[in-house]
């Protein structure tokens, strides 16, 4: 009982910082998500239908991004760009790093979706006199889009969790709020319990929303 009262008292004192940290976390996510989705949209056609050099370059980019830690990608941007005379904010560095890695993962998801549509759908579309581009736009992409809703949702949830890495370069997001509050409040576990719960609520809510959307869309076409 004492413990609980104590915990709530600490959380009450932590509340204002939690709110501002949460706002930063959400901002990082909201900035990175469209960038990642668009970046993947750019990568996918280059990877799938670009000439052999473009294919190789985008392939190398995607594999490099998928097989190296996000933390290092963020460090590379944050500590590397100043050498080129560029000084983006910590926030920007974090957003760019996250978007660059997740664009690579999303591009693989997009490609998988497009390749999963059977050749017969292409045949049916082209037999009607559709050009390749018309068939892609009207027949293949809409179906692929429906099919990858779930995987995209999962990837975005991972992205939201990955925003916590921006704390490593000093962005005062939810995770960083925890670290800086330790000295002020002279407690540790209580702080990170609160932070863990907030992340859990955030990813849980996002997951629930994405599942509802997916079910709504998919139940139509069975």
């Amino acid at each position: 009982m004492d413990f609980l009262v104590n915990l709530l008292a600490i959380w009450a004192r932590l509340y204002p910082s939690l709110v501002s940290g949460f706002a930063v976390t959400i901002s990082v996510a909201l900035a990175a998500i469209p960038l990642a989705l668009l970046g993947a949209l750019l990568l996918t056609p280059l990877r799938m239908w670009g000439g052999s050099i473009i294919h190789a370059v985008t392939g190398a980019y995607i594999e490099f991004m998928r097989n190296t830690p996000l933390l290092l990608q963020i460090y590379l941007i944050y500590f590397g760009l100043p050498l080129l005379g560029l000084y983006p904010s910590e926030f920007m560095c974090g957003v760019i790093g996250i978007a660059m890695q997740h664009a690579a993962f999303l591009a693989e998801i997009y490609r998988g979706g497009i390749e999963s549509i059977s050749q017969r759908q292409w045949d049916a579309a082209r037999a009607m006199g559709m050009t390749w581009a018309t068939a892609l736009r009207n027949v293949i992409l809409p179906q692929a889009g429906l099919r990858i809703l779930g995987p995209i949702g999962n990837q975005l949830i991972i992205l939201v969790k990955d925003t916590s890495l921006v704390s490593a370069i000093g962005v005062v997001d939810l995770t960083m709020v925890g670290k800086v509050s330790i000295e002020r409040l002279a407690v540790t576990l209580e702080i990170f319990l609160a932070i863990a719960l907030i992340y859990l609520a955030l990813t849980g809510a996002l997951g629930a929303v994405l599942r509802i959307i997916e079910r709504r869309v998919l139940e139509r076409i069975g």
């Binding site: 594999e63 490099f64 998928r66 097989n67 190296t68 830690p69 996000l70 933390l71 290092l72 990608q73 460090y75 590379l76 500590f79 590397g80 100043p82 050498l83 969790k161 990955d162 925003t163 916590s164 890495l165 704390s167 490593a168 995770t175 925890g178 670290k179 540790t188 576990l189 990170f192 319990l193 932070i195 863990a196 992340y199 859990l200 990813t203 849980g204 997951g207």
Partner: protein, 216 residues
Amino acid sequence: MMPNVLINNLPYLLKGALVTLELSVVVLIAGNLLGLVIGIVATSVGRIGQSLITAYIFVLRGIPILVIMLLGYYAFPALGYRVPAYVAVGVAQIIYVSAFVAEIVRSAILSVPSGQIAAARSLGMRRFSILKEIVLPQATRIAIPPLLNNSLTAIKQTSYVSVVGVWELTYAAREVVERTLASFQIFLGVMAIYFIICYPLSLLARRWERRAAVVQ
């Protein structure tokens, strides 16, 4: 900014890579074993046990690994245990990985058609031998690609222990960059080391994915 900064510091970085490898091996073995047990148990216990495991999986998977590590890092001293930092974050990583493994194993087992189990039972097979002869072999084929991908993620996220001060490859890289300011060379070089560790696993995962697609 000559590439010799990387070459000069390579021995030091490779020492870090060795620690990263050790950490990865421990986390992968322990995390996968723990997750395997939890996943199998989840499919063979009662309602309450299932709910507990579901909660375990849901909670851990919904929280960033960094936060789980910080919780682990502060939990030991708060509970009155003094352990080295690498033990605390190592345990946190193992538990985190186990939740993902448990979910993969559980859903792979549940995806084996119930008709198969009914058929085996009608042959008079016992519960344990049904699991061993019928369910697990089929579930294994389904689970291997996601397990490999999960292991890939686990290796990459061992780098996050550097954030709480555990010395390994990424920590070593930061030290060298602070000393030399050669951020491009060092970080790209270190990323290349991670790539060399991770890429074969990535290829393996893709091979198994393709094989699974053919079986279906």
